[in-house]
């Protein structure tokens, strides 16, 4: 028995995680695919016989649903404005911190990373208070310098921008750390060579640092893009998708249809549309990265 257990050790080592991952990641994909072709709802949950296959109806309906289209528009809005800002800001902060010689710059790493580890619900609760039209700190500060109130969460477009601001605050830290790690991997001799050739700081950054960071930038843009396509907690806790579905994201649409309205089949179809979009965008980015590295 002992010999057998010892021989099978590697399988026994990986078995528990593989079973859990299969049950909660692989199988669900198949289940989602199947139920996206059915009319499963709350009654189907109690009695499987009441579920019937309805072909592509969920997909055609969801793609014609004005709320879903609005959610797609909002999600693209988040991605197109948010992702470049995350990359630009986290890269700039990482560069400044990395060029800093004083010890205070080490403290900045912690300051900027702190929002990334804090609880999203707590953060959303705090920001809702900051954004509050009458009691919020932001409007008070604006009034102090003579500016009028901003309808932070009550005007659809500004509400989207407010959520982006919160998400930026929360996501810059992690990407900044990734950039700092990559910056520290660049050999000092490259900079010394550039200095010998008379390159100033700006030239060193643009001609040595940025090209050397190409992989890190690529990694951050792909992960950030995938993350922002799944934008969920911020609108869920702060606005519940409002005002007028102005902040509704695709992920929130899926959640609401699944767990608020119990239209499991419909929500699953929506989730597959999102999944396909994520895969397509990732593939396009991979292709772009490949072309770029072919050129150099």
């Amino acid at each position: 028995m002992r010999g057998f257990l010892n021989k099978q050790a590697p399988y026994i080592f990986i078995a528990p995680t593989l079973i859990l991952l299969t049950l909660f990641s692989i199988v669900p994909i198949l289940v989602a695919l199947v139920i996206s072709f059915t009319d499963m709802d709350l009654s189907g949950l109690a009695n499987f016989d009441s579920i019937s296959f309805i072909g592509f109806t969920n997909y055609t309906e969801v793609l014609a649903d004005p709320v879903f289209l609005k959610a797609i528009f909002n999600t693209l809005f988040y991605v197109i404005i948010g992702v470049p800002l995350v990359i630009l800001l986290s890269l700039s902060i990482a560069l400044l911190i990395n060029l800093g010689t004083s010890r205070i710059f080490k403290a900045f790493r912690v300051v900027y990373y702190l929002p990334s580890v804090t609880n999203i619900v707590a953060v959303a609760v705090v920001w809702s208070y900051l954004y509050n039209p009458s009691l919020g700190l932001f409007n008070y500060l604006l009034n102090l310098v003579g500016l009028p109130d901003v309808p932070w969460l009550t005007e659809p477009t500004i509400a989207k921008l407010s959520l982006i601001l919160l998400a930026l605050w929360k996501s810059i830290g992690l990407n900044m750390i990734i950039f700092i790690a990559a910056l520290q991997g660049i050999p000092k001799s490259y900079y010394e060579a550039a200095q010998l050739d008379g390159a100033n700081l700006w030239q060193q950054v643009t001609k040595v640092t940025i090209p050397m960071l190409r992989f890190a930038i690529f990694f951050v843009s792909i992960t950030t893009m995938i993350g922002w396509l799944q934008f969920f907690e911020e609108p869920f806790v702060m606005t519940e998708g409002g005002p007028l579905d102005g902040t509704l994201s695709v992920a929130l649409f899926i959640y609401q249809n699944g767990f608020k309205f119990n239209n499991f089949g419909y929500a699953a179809a929506g989730s597959f549309v999102l999944f396909v979009c994520i895969i397509a965008i990732t593939l396009v980015q991979l292709r772009m990265q490949k072309n770029e590295s072919d050129m150099t």
């Binding site: 010892n6 050790a9 590697p10 399988y11 080592f13 990986i14 528990p16 995680t17 593989l18 859990l20 991952l21 909660f24 990641s25 692989i26 199988v27 669900p28 994909i29 989602a32 139920i35 902060i93 400044l96 911190i97 060029l99 010689t101 205070i104 900045f108 790493r109 912690v110 900027y112 702190l114 929002p115 580890v117 609880n119 999203i120 619900v121 707590a122 609760v125 705090v126 809702s128 208070y129 900051l130 009691l135 700190l137 605050w169 750390i177 790690a181 991997g185 992989f215 990694f219 995938i226 969920f232 907690e233 695709v250 899926i254 959640y255 929500a267 989730s271 999944f275 994520i278 895969i279």
Partner: protein, 285 residues
């Protein structure tokens, strides 16, 4: 002659350098104030009595310090129950951490049939968005009778591909000869793992333990979906409930948020060096 010009040039450069240091320090400082402002405001407001919260202009420092908000959370808002549930989830997520470590070791140090294919399968699960699995996992747990149970809340997020990947990366650097020597001494594979591999892997386990704690402490989505009873709510779910029920009582809300955020801030600030260095070692290679 030429040497004095050179030193002059050097001094100009030095002065430019220190000017740059000052400017970037000031820019980062201003940004840092903006980054810390929400935390500062949260903590200050959590100690203010209700009448001071609605006061305009607001006070930056509380005029009257009160612990009433925190007391109210625990006496009337079931935050003691939420805290207990959250700690149970954290405890279970450490079991998950152990399973991840074991699997990482299995993938790192053994040759077996189907190893590479299985590892690719593990990595592939990282790409699946949670929105796709959300509904089917709920249905699966429902058919297993696990909705509205602690098991159902804990199981879906117990193991994670990224942690397995990091453990595998770290453990593949352990010399095979060391394991072989222990094996010759008659130790079983399980003993090798517990007595040799685990002690060597201390640095990665420490970092993963902190991240696991933070993730468990912050867990929101599964408790939200799976728990129907308030007796199973976690702090995050309880806090979002509080936001709905006590929408106008910001003092109470800030106290709830501060209670959730403070332990993580303390823990992270204390261990930040290790966490940040872990990214440099394992993150970008």
């Amino acid at each position: 002659m030429s040497s004095t010009i050179a030193t002059k040039k050097g001094k100009v450069k030095e002065r430019q350098g220190s000017l740059f240091q000052w400017i970037s320090g000031i820019v980062l400082g201003i940004g840092g104030i903006f980054f810390l402002l929400p935390f500062f405001w949260m903590i200050m407001s959590s100690f203010k009595p209700e009448n001071e919260i609605v006061q305009i202009p607001p006070t930056f420092w509380p005029d009257t310090f009160t612990l009433h908000n925190f007391k109210y959370l625990f006496q009337n808002m079931n935050f003691d129950v939420y805290l207990k549930n959250t700690l149970i989830i954290v405890l279970f997520s450490f079991v998950g951490l152990f399973l991840n470590a074991v699997a990482g070791f299995g993938f790192a140090k053994y040759e077996f049939k189907g190893r590479n294919a299985l590892f690719v399968l593990v990595l592939a699960t990282m790409m699946i968005p949670s929105q796709v699995t959300m509904i089917p996992v709920y249905l699966i747990l429902n058919s297993l009778g696990l909705t509205n149970t602690m098991t159902g809340i804990v199981l879906p997020g117990l193991v994670g591909a990224f942690a397995i990947f990091l453990f595998r990366q770290f453990m593949s650097t352990i010399p095979t000869e060391l394991l072989e020597a222990t094996r010759l001494d008659g130790a079983s594979e399980y003993r090798i793992f517990l007595q040799i591999v685990l002690p060597i892997s201390k640095p990665i386990i420490a970092v993963q333990a902190i991240l696991t704690f933070i993730a468990g402490w912050n867990s929101f989505l599964w408790p939200l979906i799976i728990a129907n009873d308030e007796s199973l709510y976690t702090l995050s779910v309880g806090l979002s409930l509080l936001k709905g029920q006590y929408a106008a009582n910001f003092g109470l809300q800030m106290a709830g948020a501060a209670f959730m955020v403070a332990p993580v801030i303390v823990l992270f600030t204390y261990f930040q060096k290790h966490i940040i260095e872990n990214f440099s070692i394992s993150g970008m290679k």
